[in-house]
Assembly symmetry: C2
Homo-oligomer: 301 residues x 2
Amino acid sequence: MALPKNVLIREVGPRDGLQNESVWLDTMEKRTWIHLLEEAHLPYIEVTSFVHPKWVPALKDAKELAQSLNKKEDITYAALIPNEKGLAHFFEANLELGAMFISASETHNKKNMNRSIQETLPVIKQMTADLKAEGRQTRAYISTVFGCPYERQVPMDQVLRLTEQLLSFGIDEISLGDTIGEAHPLQVERRLDLLLERFPADKIALHFHDTKGMGLANIYTALKAGITMFDASSGGLGGCPYAPGSSGNVATEDVVHMLHKLGIETNVDLPRLIKAAEWIEAKVDRTLPSHCLRAFQSHTT
Amino acid sequence: MALPKNVLIREVGPRDGLQNESVWLDTMEKRTWIHLLEEAHLPYIEVTSFVHPKWVPALKDAKELAQSLNKKEDITYAALIPNEKGLAHFFEANLELGAMFISASETHNKKNMNRSIQETLPVIKQMTADLKAEGRQTRAYISTVFGCPYERQVPMDQVLRLTEQLLSFGIDEISLGDTIGEAHPLQVERRLDLLLERFPADKIALHFHDTKGMGLANIYTALKAGITMFDASSGGLGGCPYAPGSSGNVATEDVVHMLHKLGIETNVDLPRLIKAAEWIEAKVDRTLPSHCLRAFQSHTT
């Protein structure tokens, strides 16, 4: 299959990245980073999470941050919402897109959500209805699509069933997550074959980690299967706190750099993206895993 | 095209990795590292280089090191040879395979070899004849196959012409190098299409850098085109001293891990390979870019 002409990048750094860092960024600092990401023309920024601050203290200023943004018209500002309580805060914060989450494996869902998959689905269904009633866009994350840190293998039937149910709720896009960073390109090829037989490619985003170095190999494989939406994190910040050893969202700079090399448009400004990654790297004060951040820095020093 | 069943890994860390490090490993330390690589059952180890010590002081003990090895029967011990003077030392060192090198771009060849491509070819031809007369195996590196730090674009015609000439000398395998780490999978696909129309896949190895995170994406693409030999460096050590910003050979652990995930046999023992990478990382005393080194360490700490 030919490569797509355009790809949409979903920047998840300020939410998925920061929720896994021990560093505290105050609201003004978060705004600065988000501003740098806006300047890079990212079409979607997941700015925070309305998870209880007890679980993710790094994002405890979610509402205040969201309300303080000088939002640009052509950017979708999103936040994670775990439940109806989070939804109330989300509406007060006045963001455009609500992202919900569920796991494809029972154990991971229980550890992450403190309830079963069957108990999670009606919550998502109701939240989706509430979000749509208020004219908001919706997204659902399915975790552990390519493997689970507790159950290891995750049956593809379960992924297909969940995708079907979530789409039947009217959710705009589903992001399939390689939570433990173990997806390999042949598996991506096979799982997407089954998925895209049943569902339209423009409803599916992929969320890869670069834990074992296969992030871009998986994205290239997904592009060839027809996928046109990818999650990525500025600097490669983040992972999953409930999946041991799963550090490393694929870095937005690395994804955008490869896409441009392939002749695919993203509308993202790579030099400005590097600047945003440099800023957050200095702030968290550790070397981030982004390849292009290193490569482009080493050219100038 | 279906993936191959078996792949041969060419371990180049002790030569290509060390030649780019400022750290000095004495002969005994190099032997220790090579021994750890032998224990991982790598089928090929490029142990040193007979380049003049003035250019690569890190490998100035080339002959002494080679003579001190307790060689295993099922491993090919190789070394880089730049010219006839190096060849004399190589024969004294009694190794199995001599690797020669040339660039696909004139400027890079001049900076690297201090002579033109046309002047380099007869030297390689003569060395190949001498090596074969002594019953040795032969390999030739072509650098800058996917781009040059000085000339940027490198015409594929030049790569095809050089490959043809080198094979006509009777050289056993040609390693095509992504010297600046800018090859992308679509380019790999296109260049291999042209190459494998003319030459048998089992004569071609690929040598990728992971500078921009595309190392494994390029390898996966090459596997699908039918390539079954890949160069890699333990821990991801090394780069090219004449190509600014080109740090990062693809890490042997990352390559082997992906191949095994894909169901491809390498005969390499991954846990022992991680041990070898841990050892060299401690020795050079900086964080190496290998993904699997990090991932497997973080599982145990």
